[in-house]
Symmetry: C2
Subunit: 207 residues, 2 copies
Amino acid sequence: MGNMKKYHHGNLEEALLTAGLQEAKARGPRNLGVNFLAKAVKVSPTAVYRHFLSGESLRASISQQAREELARQMLKAIATQTDVKNRFRAVGRAYINFALNEPGLFAVAFVACEEGPQREDSPSAWMVLQDSILDICNAKLIEASEVQQVASFAWATVHGFATLAGGSDPRRPKTNEKTISDLLDRTWSGIIQLGSKNSAKDKLGAN
Amino acid sequence: MGNMKKYHHGNLEEALLTAGLQEAKARGPRNLGVNFLAKAVKVSPTAVYRHFLSGESLRASISQQAREELARQMLKAIATQTDVKNRFRAVGRAYINFALNEPGLFAVAFVACEEGPQREDSPSAWMVLQDSILDICNAKLIEASEVQQVASFAWATVHGFATLAGGSDPRRPKTNEKTISDLLDRTWSGIIQLGSKNSAKDKLGAN
DNA sequence: CCCTAATGTTTACAGCATACACATAATGAG
DNA sequence: CTCATTATGTGTATGCTGTAAACATTAGGG
């Protein structure tokens, strides 16, 4: 008796996002299509368009959610760390761990990030990373003028490693603790750059 | 009269790859489908299957070509450099320049690298990069035991930056000369890690 | 209470990858 | 040279996608 199927779903939008995230977690971006997700929620394909402009924008929303999940895990990882250096390491490690533990989600988070303006109130991995760099600056380990450059460097390294390690390349780097720790050590070296202001004029031959 | 259209194309395979590369260069991965490329070469869609197992494998071949082009440009950039440090910088800069100057090709080169075993004889960006790291090792600036770690680090940084800078993220890093030069400086710092325990004999004076 | 807006379904169509049957051209053996 | 074989192309058909348009059902406010 109770099993009367309601004509209206109730809150389809959230259901679609949830189903999308679950699928992303399980199998990556492959099946995040309108038809598949509609079926997963037991709804007609065209119903999707009452909540999203297009299949692409649905995917963009799922991707956004995945990015927020990453940011949340980074925030959690940073919470217990007080030392600037350890905070940065925690950020980097959380980022990389996310890519390794949730390869599907990570892939979805960073495929074709062509979406519109992200809401600024939502947690963003980039912001968390940048904050940890600002901390380093506040601790006088780098100068304010360097912050942007350092952030780009750190972001590139961590994101690059996560991408390569999480991917399916035959030449993908090792992913053991030692390798990751070493990577973060080297990144830290690049951040602090003993050559910059301590060692005065770089003895460049730079090009 | 000479305009008699031949029933057989002559060498369709190469034509498809060329058309694919051209399209990739112009508009990225968007239109690299069987129908589109078949039309571009003025051939029936199903003709493609005489030369490729599937549309996916066609795309994989195009992607491979793009990667080879990248490797070639890296090799060219390295050719004039003799100093180990400058060689490494040239490699990194070529990689990044490729991403910036040919965003379409770069995107195609690294989307869904799920392809089968790459031919070992073809030039590979990874190999070029690794060779430049080996050079650093031969110059006694790092130890043999570090090579893999260093290669992973350098690869991650350069690839990560190229990916981020080449993408369409709103938060994408600046791409001016200074930023790139700074990035390579910091990467170099991470490579020769003065802070490490074995701190290496200061070859710094040599520069 | 009914009218309207929100939400879901059905139907329809274009574009895609691809299988299958058929057409044509190139090649090599007698 | 002739002719069969093989390589390479075309045409047609199918099932899957994304999405538009018209219709159905329900929720909520005058």
